[in-house]
Symmetry: C2
Subunit: 214 residues, 2 copies
């Protein structure tokens, strides 16, 4: 029937990589080979985008002082977030929430500038460019997991501060600090589940029929 059908074994592999991908915060240094990095970014660039906008931009951080400055920015936001969490402040501060210093590769993902030109699929929902870029990051994440590389998406930062550090133009927006690289092992379950920050919902609770119901 379909062209290029996937075999049952291949289908299982796709479900497996989806199930075994983790948001990693523990890295063990090392390197990501250049060819692998390009394949991973190529996977990201195969994402769907609203009106074929391709809004994603990747800023690879190689300067150690810049990595240090990004680390400091994340730490500052981590403390502000902890304060905003009130009674869960101490619990939050005990969690490892990023691997900025330990990961092999640090990549900032940003939305392009001049996004206002793109109206297709965004007239009523301008945030669809973020949706597209998030699909790209998920592609990268899955490809990295297949390659045996861990990745974490850090969103603990002040976007204005990161824009300043990276000399980003008005209209662009950093959406992710990606920590990428070799890991000693993948968490068997999401770390925030193991650490009892939150529990996993039953799928049945998330599905409704013909309208919203609680």
């Amino acid at each position: 029937m379909n062209n290029n059908a996937f075999t049952p074994t291949e289908i299982d592999t796709v479900y497996r990589v989806i199930a075994e991908r983790r948001d990693m915060r523990h890295f063990c240094g090392g390197k990501v080979p250049h060819d692998t990095l390009m394949k991973l970014l190529g996977a990201a660039h195969h994402a769907p985008s609203v009106g074929l906008m391709q809004p994603w931009r990747f800023i690879r951080i190689q300067n150690p002082q810049l990595r240090e400055a990004i680390y400091d920015a994340v730490q500052a936001e981590r403390i502000k977030t902890a304060n905003a969490l009130h009674e869960r402040e101490d619990e939050f501060m005990r969690l490892k929430v990023e691997g900025v210093k330990d990961c092999a590769e640090l990549i900032v993902v940003a939305l392009m500038d001049q996004r206002e030109k793109h109206v297709f699929g965004r007239r009523t929902l301008p945030q669809m460019d973020l949706a597209s870029a998030s699909c790209a990051i998920q592609n990268l994440w899955l490809a990295a997991r297949a390659e045996g590389l861990g990745m974490g998406w850090v969103s603990l930062f002040d976007p204005e501060q990161l824009m300043h550090l990276l000399n980003m133009p008005r209209g662009s927006l950093p959406i992710a600090i990606l920590c990428l690289g070799p890991v000693a092992e993948f968490y068997p379950r999401p770390m925030l589940e193991t650490e009892q920050w939150a529990t996993r919902k039953d799928l049945d609770e998330l599905i409704m029929h013909d309208g919203w119901h609680d």
Copy 2:
């Protein structure tokens, strides 16, 4: 080294499903078996989410009148978008932009209500819940492609109107009308590329080092 390493063949399969996934607008009716639909939604639910928030909700549309009303809402927005595109209006109107009537399954994906309680990773970037839900949709998309099912993400709608149609609570937000189901064939390239709406950018153009540069 890593637990649960993927073999080279399995790695290729992951890259292949990423490369062969398409945003489909042409469907050929039929059905999605219930078990398959649950596996696909399970794949979505395996997405990462900011602070393990799991903000995604899935509303399966089974009532034919409701599907018709959603179709009408998409058509209304399609015309408004065409008008807003000015000189590209006619070109846009010639594109097939949705498969709402022809797809086997219609699923509205929404962000949950009461999102303001979730501060972890969202203090400065509250839109990270949309990012998480988009990762979930990308998982679903890839799993569907592996299963030989097409999917399209329609964002041509007025969210207020859809919220009214689906009796959605204040604070929730519909982000996608997903068209899912059997297709005669998958587009060999993104349809908007084939139709010359936009061209695919070179990956090299999207990668920068240590800061923004044009």
